[in-house]
């Protein structure tokens, strides 16, 4: 087996004094499609931004992020810029605000190519057209001259994806790429994303709150809650035999699409997701967990090899 594409060790993200990401370890295998599941406040987006070195001003990342034998957090800003958009790329949730409203789509798609491949204006434009064809944007030649507001939501997200695959990256991070889209468009975008990373052997980290999407696209899954990864493993394994009470509760809280529940009631998780810095000490889920005992006030480590879980009372 080849070396992992990315290895994150003890990653913390600090918002002022508060730890928003509280020591996260995970590995992205070469060419794997990994889903990162979490709700608001879970720290999933901050984790991704830390990997990309795109954290907002004032937020600090600590720990280690190993990529090709180098710890990204020890690289200079310049070296990290060189990787960004070339080897590591990212697709964001809201494609309208994520594109420069004043710049033509073609120029935006050409930007990473001109920056990293030093292509001339004409070469970059020709390549941009190919890319728009690859992401199946209708009328690519015309779309090159369009401004973002002239495209539909789905088309904009295709443009974002074209930018992200322009330099054939090693790792592509997609943060809720379809949340802002209609169901029918969402399916198309996910299929496109999956096809592109499969063809290129790109390692995918797909961040979402939607478990069904993860089950469709990803072969590995990470479950985050309260700034920690609480469960990880192969998707089929984690979804059919969840070991963390939170994962199980999430799965049971979703109304099934293909059957009617006998009594019409869902299994609900009590309470609300705490705000930043308001999670309890120890296991972040313990205040909402039915299995809570006194030992839960110390944080359990991730235990297990193929399907590790951070819980004192894991489900069998």
């Amino acid at each position: 087996m080849s070396a992992p594409a990315l290895e994150v060790r003890g990653l913390q993200v600090l918002v002022g004094e508060t730890e928003a990401v509280r020591g996260v370890d995970f590995t992205l295998e070469q060419g794997a499609r990994t889903g990162l599941i979490g709700e608001s406040g879970s720290g999933k987006t901050l984790t991704a931004l830390a990997v990309m070195d795109l954290l907002p001003d004032g937020l600090v990342a600590r720990g280690e992020i190993w990529y090709r034998g180098r710890d990204l957090l020890r690289l200079s800003e310049r070296e990290r810029s060189r990787l960004r958009g070339d080897r590591l790329t990212m697709v964001f949730q809201e494609p309208l605000s994520a594109l420069d409203p004043l710049m033509r789509v073609g120029d935006q798609v050409a930007e990473p190519l001109r920056l990293h491949r030093r292509l001339s204006r004409t070469e970059a434009r020709a390549r941009a057209r190919e890319l728009l064809e690859r992401v199946q944007l209708p009328d690519p030649v015309e779309r090159l001259r369009a401004y973002p507001h002239q495209l539909s939501g789905g088309q904009r997200q295709r443009v974002m994806i074209a930018m992200a695959v322009a330099c054939s990256p090693d790792i592509l991070i997609a943060d809720e790429p379809t949340t802002a889209l209609d169901v029918t468009v969402q399916a198309e975008i996910l299929a496109l994303l999956e096809r592109l990373v499969r063809e290129e052997g790109t390692t995918l980290l797909l961040i979402t709150h939607d478990l069904a999407i993860v089950s469709q696209v990803c072969d590995q899954v990470l479950v985050m809650y309260g700034g920690r990864i609480v469960e990880a493993g192969p998707t089929a394994e984690v979804f059919s035999h969840p070991r963390h009470p939170y994962t199980l509760a999430l799965l049971e809280a979703i109304p099934p699409i293909d059957q009617q529940l006998p009594n019409g009631r869902l299994t609900q998780i009590p309470g609300a997701v705490p705000g930043l810095g308001e999670f309890p000490s120890g296991c972040p889920f313990r205040t909402r967990c039915l299995r809570e005992t006194s030992c839960c006030s110390t944080m359990p480590e991730m235990a297990g090899t193929s399907h590790p879980v951070a819980c004192w009372h894991p489900l069998s």
């Binding site: 705000g275 930043l276 810095g277 308001e278």
Partner: protein
């Protein structure tokens, strides 16, 4: 929930409080009679002849004049803002509430009025009517009306789009009820911010007008007037050209900071953040 007050709010609040305090004290007591002329001891320096900040070209006590000037400044600010709020807020509110032809009319009229900056309108009024504090206040107040109407309309339209208004309309809440129950309470903060900004502009406009001799009439202490008189004596008494300007600057700064601070305090993003944590 821990709320940290924006520093600009504190600084602005302190400055404004100071101006108000001085103005209030000046109505009861000033070190000397600010209108008492003493030609013998004119243009005294700081501390000379018992004048704490010196005396002006007529031998009046500079400090007392400055204190009394604060009163004029505040009076002009308050009256103009009251005029602007009294006319502009209902107009803007009604425009947001009813939309349609009424809104169109209010907006068009305010567009035209906006082409008259406060100072130009005041000069026009001064030419036609008697120049003086009342004329100046009326002109500045009228010139502020459109900005209040626009701001209230803008904020009001946002309120009207909120789902809680939709719900209230579903029960058949009438325009009056929507205005009193939802619109005004929710645009109140915007009005306060706009009022502090307008107050600062009014102080500047009054000072400029008085400097030009079109505002406060000679005899009534006014910072702008004092600067106009000081200009002749810049060579002999340069400080006379400094004190009143400093007072104007600090008052304007106070109100601008206060407005900034209130805005920061009420910034929707900030409010959102506070709500989340």
């Amino acid at each position: 929930m821990r709320r940290r007050l924006p520093p600009s709010l504190l600084a602005g609040g302190v400055l404004v409080a100071l101006v108000v305090l001085v103005a209030v004290v000046a109505t009861i007591w000033t070190p000397r009679n600010p209108t008492q002329v003493d030609v013998v001891r004119r243009l005294s320096g700081i501390g000379q002849n018992g004048f704490l900040l010196g005396s002006d070209q007529l031998g009046r006590d500079e400090l007392s004049l400055l204190m009394a000037g604060a009163r004029t400044t505040l009076l002009v600010g308050v009256v103009t803002v009251v005029i602007a709020v009294a006319v502009g807020v209902p107009l803007g509110g009604l425009a947001a509430l009813f939309g349609g032809a009424l809104e169109e009319a209010v907006m068009r009229v305010s567009d035209v009025l906006l082409a008259f900056p406060a100072l130009v309108l005041a000069i026009l009024f001064a030419a036609v009517f008697r120049p003086g504090t009342v004329t100046a206040m009326a002109a500045i107040g009228i010139a502020f009306v459109p900005s209040f109407a626009r701001v209230v309309r803008g904020a009001g339209l946002q309120v009207m789009e909120q789902d809680y208004v939709t719900v209230a309309r579903g029960w058949g809440s009438g325009p009056l009820r929507l205005m009193v129950r939802h619109l005004l309470p929710n645009v109140g903060s915007v009005i306060i911010v706009q009022a502090t900004v307008a107050f600062a502009i009014a102080i500047l406009a009054e000072a400029s007008l008085s400097y030009l001799g079109l505002g406060t009439t000679p005899g009534t202490p006014s910072w702008g007037l004092m600067l106009a008189e000081a200009q002749t004596y810049l060579a002999q008494a340069p400080l006379l050209g400094v004190w009143p300007g400093l007072c104007i600057g600090l008052s304007v700064l106070g109100f601008s900071l206060l407005g900034d601070g209130i805005r920061d305090l009420l910034d929707p993003r900030l409010v959102e953040r506070m709500a989340q944590t």
